[in-house]
């Protein structure tokens, strides 16, 4: 993505902002699975275990085999390969369907490496040459869900010209350097590492279990999305792409990730609003349900409007990415600038309007607050996305 300025804004395209019947069916399947296997109490118990993803819940090499939840999500429903072409073992679907999965994962604040593996890693690989056996093999493995992938960039990296890679590639293909705050790095089997080679940027595949790869887990604010610093010390990488192609593959992954993160944020906000409405309609003080007081119901009504608006913004981004619209960078920047604060506000309102119970460890509201706040920093802050937008729609800075 460039920051060229145009004399007039891009004409608005013709997006499909609704959900198709197939998308609703996919939602039902994912929601049923999450309701069954990943209710808030289970999530809370899982994040307290000391493995990145509980063996019963997450993906985790830590537990040896992939977890039941990830296996069901990835393989039984087949969501891990939604973006992968059918001839490579995927479903050949688009970001519209992936966005629906992320809405449900956000609503359940599910601790699975979906955004990292099925979106960021897959999209980065899709930007490389599919005919290449290395790339095709990796896509097939990620689509099957038997391999978990991670794009080795700090989770805060925004699309629109990522910074220079911090990893150097030697002529013999060995990689050295450190990448901080990589989401799901400790759970990943396959690391996609942007590196600076002698001939410019390149993208490498590195086995997480290979010699010279060290991950050091960080205590994350968001308990449901583990972070780790990654250190490569002469680790052997397999070349996936070089030059502009490598750079563009990474940037497309970041753009896609940021656009679809808006759907996850929508799901987080939806749960927070629904749970707050449910609680305030039941909780009685002063002889009335507290949800009957205008001081509270106006806040929830205002939030409802924001959530309804976030849905339009998130759908618009998912549709623009799916159709390859030239408007996608604008749609993604708008969706992130809008949806990230809505999720945070919804989670903050959820805590406040729950009163004391909202402040307890026992109630799941804090899981959503931590996810929402961490998501606000993920793949670019709202302010960063507004800055990008300024360049895209000719509203330059002073």
């Amino acid at each position: 993505m460039t920051t060229e300025t145009r004399s007039t804004p891009t004409p608005a395209p013709d997006p499909d902002l609704l959900y198709s019947e197939d998308e609703e069916a996919l939602r039902d399947a994912v929601r049923a699975l999450l309701t069954d296997r990943s209710d808030p109490a289970t999530v809370l118990a899982a994040v307290e275990s000391d493995v990145p993803y509980s063996p019963t819940l997450g993906s985790a090499r830590a537990g040896g085999a992939p977890s039941a939840l990830w296996r069901s999500l990835a393989t039984e429903i087949g969501t891990a390969g939604l973006l992968v072409p059918e001839k490579l073992g995927g479903a050949g679907a688009s970001t519209r369907e992936t966005a629906v999965v992320l809405e449900e994962l956000g609503r359940a604040v599910a601790p699975v490496p979906y955004l990292t593996s099925a979106v960021l890693a897959v999209t980065a690989l899709l930007g490389c040459d599919h005919e290449d056996a290395e790339v095709a093999g990796a896509l097939t493995a990620l689509a099957a869900g038997t391999t978990v992938g991670a794009l080795a960039v700090p989770l805060t990296t925004a699309p629109g010209g990522p910074p220079e890679p911090t990893v150097r590639a030697a002529a013999d293909g060995t990689l050295t350097g450190r990448v901080t705050s990589v989401a799901d790095a400790a759970a990943a089997d396959l690391l996609l590492v942007p590196a600076q080679g002698s001939d410019g940027p390149a993208l490498f595949a590195v086995e997480a279990a290979a010699d010279g790869v060290r991950t050091e887990r960080v205590t994350p604010l968001d308990l449901t999305r583990p972070l780790a610093h990654l250190t490569l010390d002469g680790a052997r990488g397999r070349l996936l792409a070089t030059g502009d192609r490598a750079r563009e593959a990474v940037d497309r992954a970041l753009l896609t990730g940021a656009g679809l993160l808006a759907s996850e944020q929508l799901g987080v906000a939806e749960w927070c609003l629904a749970e707050t409405v449910r609680h305030t309609a039941e909780r009685t003080q002063f002889g009335r349900p507290i949800g009957s007081f205008q001081a509270l119901k106006h806040r929830m009504a205002a939030l409802w409007l924001e959530v309804a608006s976030a849905r339009a913004a998130a759908r618009n981004a998912a549709d623009a990415l799916a159709t390859g619209s030239p408007d996608a960078p604008v749609a993604v920047a708008v969706a992130q600038a809008y949806c990230a604060p809505v999720a945070v506000r919804a989670a903050e309102e959820c805590v406040q309007l729950h009163g004391g119970i909202g402040m307890t460890w026992e109630h799941p509201a804090h899981l959503y607050l931590k996810r929402a706040k961490a998501d606000e920093l993920t793949l670019g802050t709202p302010g960063r996305h507004r800055e990008t937008l300024a360049g895209l729609v000719d509203l330059g800075a002073p």
């Binding site: 609704l18 929830m300 409802w304 618009n316 507004r386 937008l389």
Partner: protein
């Protein structure tokens, strides 16, 4: 069933029989009404063909291409949007025959006598009285915020016919003749300097019982149809990116680099995002309506647009620096319509203040969203079962 091809043929027949170039404007509009091409979803004989509402666009496109005259919907919006659907649903055959044709052609302008000084958000508490006298009703009271009253031939009116019943049950709906000698219209000057609205004083106004719409005491129910149709109008139009007030603000920003500051830049970008998302939310609502799945988003759209119009116009006055200190014209005028993006920034800023008050205050709309969309428990209603005459006021 009338389909698009049939409508094209009928439109071609109309144009052949009444060539726009050589036909008087009013004659053409009457002929169009009689051909059932005025509002195709209306019944045959009343300007329509019982066709799907969505097919109106087919007729409108053909007529526009032929240069046919229109009925100036901006001038007769209350008649088209509020009076007509109510007359169609509750009117007698005689009333439909008498009122709908000149309403649609614009020969007769309509206004709405609903709000009162003592009944704004609580419209059902209205105090204008209608007392039965032989074949007539005699009406006394005061109405307010009536646009087009000075141009109108007819009004839709709600008045209290039984003060002993609780407020929602003692109201009746009438068609009021605005030329009655007991009707006095006074301009109501507003903070912009002009008088877009009027106060209407009703003193001994006689309304024949034949001009009652719906049953005696059913006026609140009839009024719901009117108000519901007011909301249908919202969300029907497609807005391009940077359509509306944000486009004016963005154009200012591009044209006046010397006025830019970092603070104004940050705020403009936030407003731009909010305006774009509001546009997309309206577009999503429109797509749902087209598919026959109306969503609850409509209830909230007015809230979003009111806040945006106020924030953007406030930003604009501030951005314009010395120009923001000036105002184009305080002269008292009575405009025929309203253009929220018209005139200068100062006017837009002041006019936008009305957006969160007119057609339901933002506070009332938040109650509606909370109770009807979210299902939150209502506030206790102490006035619901009390006779209107015993309510404190």
């Amino acid at each position: 069933m009338t389909d698009a091809a049939d409508l094209r043929r009928r439109t071609a027949d109309l144009l052949a029989a009444h060539p726009p170039a050589t036909t008087d404007r009013l004659d053409f509009l009457r002929a169009r009404f009689d051909a059932g091409l005025a509002w195709v979803h209306f019944p045959e004989g009343l300007g329509g063909l019982d066709a799907p509402r969505s097919l109106q666009a087919v007729v409108d496109a053909e007529l526009a291409a032929a240069g046919a005259p229109g009925n100036d919907p901006g001038r007769i919006g209350i008649g088209l949007g509020m009076a007509a659907p109510t007359i169609l649903r509750f009117g007698t055959d005689e009333q439909k025959q008498r009122f709908l044709r000149p309403l649609w052609t614009g020969e007769e302008v309509w206004c709405q006598l609903f709000s009162e000084p003592g009944a704004g958000s609580d419209l059902a508490a209205l105090a204008t009285r209608a007392v039965r006298d032989g074949e007539d009703w005699v009406v006394d009271g005061q109405k307010v915020w009536t646009s087009s009253a000075h141009l109108a031939r007819w009004a839709i009116l709600i008045a209290r016919t039984d003060p002993d019943l609780p407020k929602h049950r003692g109201i009746t709906y009438f068609v009021c003749d605005m030329t009655d000698p007991g009707v006095e219209v006074r301009p109501l000057r507003q903070i912009t300097g002009e008088a877009e609205f009027n106060e209407v004083f009703l003193t001994g106004v006689r309304i024949p019982d034949a001009h009652r719409l719906g049953e005696v005491g059913e006026g609140w129910k009839v009024a719901q149809t009117t108000l519901m149709n007011e909301r249908v109008a919202i969300g029907g139009n497609r807005i391009p990116r940077e359509g509306g007030m944000i486009g004016v603000a963005a154009a200012d920003w591009r044209a006046r680099p010397e006025l830019r500051t970092h603070d104004l830049h940050q705020r403009l970008l936030t407003l731009w995002v909010d305006a774009e998302v509001a546009r997309l939310t309206g577009e999503r609502l429109r797509q749902q309506l087209t598919k026959g799945q109306p969503g609850p988003e409509g209830s909230g759209m007015k809230l979003a647009f009111a806040r945006l119009a106020q924030d953007i116009s406030g930003w604009e006055v501030e951005f314009l620096a010395e120009d923001g200190l000036t105002y184009d014209d305080w002269t008292m005028r009575r405009p025929d319509g309203v253009d929220f993006t018209g005139r200068e920034a100062g006017y837009r800023y002041l006019r936008a203040k009305g957006n969160s008050i007119e057609g339901g205050t933002s506070e009332v709309l938040l109650n509606i969203v909370a109770e009807r969309v979210l299902g939150l428990p209502p506030e206790p209603r102490t006035d619901k079962d009390v006779a209107w005459k015993d309510l404190p006021r």
